[in-house]
């Protein structure tokens, strides 16, 4: 395909910036890179509206930012060992939240879209969530053949966790599934697998 061609379903991420027009804020971050994104957010300002930060320490790659974060946001920080726990707390928060709550997330694509799916359940579109991709470019992959979602795809081709087919990782992305499409790479010519390269470190 020609240069400049962009698959419009592929999400474009930004950096976390406070939304001035708000009623309240909630910030969800994952791992050390997410912790740093939250730190950077509070470098911008401390918002006047009620604010919560949910910090899932894992996956911690290099650095645990619990202590600096707790200095910067002493009364608003909730810490969790895993993203699963922070998502449970997020849902509890959403169930009693009012319109005007601004949602911010920084983490892997898997985490970003877990947050988006949870918000969707409470009637908030992903387009209204401020999203920053940090830490890893690893892609969640939906196998179009057996419907299994495999995580941690770092390469252009990845074996499906469900059916074992070698899947070509496309740019076509489903927000509802939170995953890229994976299509059997050697369907036309069985056994002919192109070289596998790491392109989503």
């Amino acid at each position: 395909m020609e240069r400049g061609y962009w698959i419009r379903s592929k999400p474009v991420y930004s950096t976390l910036v406070w939304q001035q027009q708000a009623n309240a804020h909630i910030v969800l971050v994952e791992g050390s890179a997410g912790g740093l994104a939250a730190m950077k957010l509070f470098q911008q300002m401390h918002p006047e509206h009620p604010t919560k930060v949910l910090y899932a320490r894992n996956p911690v790659v290099q650095q645990d930012l619990s202590i600096p974060l707790s200095k910067v946001v002493p009364d608003a920080l909730l810490m969790f060992e895993t993203t699963e726990e922070s998502l449970v707390a997020f849902e509890a928060h959403l169930s009693s939240a009012c319109m005007g709550l601004r949602i911010y997330v920084a983490g892997s694509e898997r985490f970003i879209w877990q947050v988006a799916q949870m918000a969707d359940k409470y009637g908030i579109d992903d387009s209204d969530i401020i999203k920053e991709l940090v830490g890893t470019l690893a892609r969640p992959i939906y196998c179009v053949h057996c419907k299994t979602i495999s995580y941690e795809a770092h390469t252009n081709i990845k074996k499906c966790d469900g059916c074992g087919k070698q899947l070509f990782v496309r740019d076509h992305f489903s927000r509802r599934l939170g995953a890229y499409m994976g299509l059997m790479v050697d369907a036309e010519d069985p056994g002919q697998i192109p070289s596998i390269e790491e392109i989503y470190p």
Binding site: Q21, A97, C98, M99, G100, G123, D125, D128
Partner: protein
């Protein structure tokens, strides 16, 4: 535009200024069902000139045997509301378009907050039917000037029960928008229809509280404002059309026998958009459709409500 002929089957005086008109199909066929918030455009031949005004459909959208619209007599009527109030009788024939919806409920909303001012209650008259039938979570807040303007209040109180709140300005009641919009559960959508000042105030309050744009819905039909006369050159048809002060550009183009696209005729839907080739003056944008950037760029115009302050305007039609 697909249209069909209707006959006025009933007229009711709702308030001193508001009349309700009921229509059945002239050919006896059943009327199409519609979705809550839909409107029809009513065509009226007034002294040889065709007027087309949009009116919200009221009542049950599911299997309507009759269409209902409510018309407020406008103080500075260009003819439409005065004609309906004074000339149209039971048995009169009119032509209407198929229903069209520019003010649809968002079916994914967890709660619907409806805010009406005065005659702006009309689109909600069908929306609440859909909301009640689907057992949706909703509230209706209805403000009007005085009991003289209290259209449909008793019907609504009966239908909506504890879900309606009424604010009568002459009794010192008004809607505290900030308080109302601050405490709505996540996933609420707000819908407003009423006087311009109310619509603008609600949209601004919701935005300042951090409501996403997609959760804020409004409907306002504009009557084509009069202005100074000007000339429109139609590039493709290669003719020049005079737009008199009291006629809209769209009406003038139609009167000249040129087929131009249109739908709502109230500056809301975007269907009649035309490309501006050049002008020796300025465009006077009056619609709710074009973005501020589009309006500033001056390459597009909605001829149903907008005009130009110029000697001559050339468009690609």
């Amino acid at each position: 535009m697909s249209t069909f002929k209707v006959v006025v089957s009933n007229i009711q005086q709702i308030t001193p200024l508001i009349k309700q008109f009921s229509f059945i199909r002239e050919d006896g066929a059943s009327l199409p069902p519609f979705s809550g918030g839909s409107h029809v455009v009513v065509a009226m031949n007034i002294n040889g000139r065709l007027h087309r005004n949009p009116y919200s459909l009221m009542g049950s959208p599911q299997a309507p045997d009759t269409y209902h619209i409510a018309v407020r007599l406008q103080e500075h009527s260009r003819g439409g509301s005065a004609y309906l109030h004074h000339e149209v009788k039971v048995g009169s024939q009119l032509e209407i378009t198929y229903p069209n919806n520019l003010f649809a409920l968002d079916k994914r909303a967890r709660k619907h907050l409806l805010v009406a001012g005065g005659i702006g209650i009309t689109p909600f008259m069908s929306q609440i039917e859909d909301l009640i039938r689907t057992k949706a979570n909703y509230e209706l807040h209805y403000a009007y000037r005085s009991q003289d303007h209290a259209a449909f209040t008793s019907t609504l109180k009966e239908k909506c029960d504890e879900r309606i709140r009424v604010y009568v300005e002459s009794e010192g009641l008004s809607i505290d928008l900030k308080a109302l919009l601050s405490k709505q559960p996540l996933g609420t959508h707000v819908y407003v229809c009423g006087p311009n000042a109310m619509v603008v105030a609600l949209i601004e309050t919701a935005r300042s509280l951090g409501w996403p744009e997609n959760h804020i819905h409004s409907e306002q039909f504009l009557a084509p404002p009069s202005g100074e006369p000007f000339k429109v050159k139609l590039a493709k048809s290669n003719i020049e059309v005079h737009v008199p002060a009291e006629m809209s550009m769209l009406e003038a183009i139609e009167a000249a026998g040129v087929d131009a696209p249109y739908s709502c005729r109230g500056g809301a839907c975007g269907r009649c958009e035309l490309e501006v080739i050049r002008t020796d003056g300025v465009l006077v944008h009056q619609d709710h459709y074009l973005s501020e950037a589009d309006k500033a760029a001056g390459k597009k115009i909605m001829p149903c409500v907008s005009r130009a302050k110029c000697h001559s305007l050339e468009i690609n039609l």
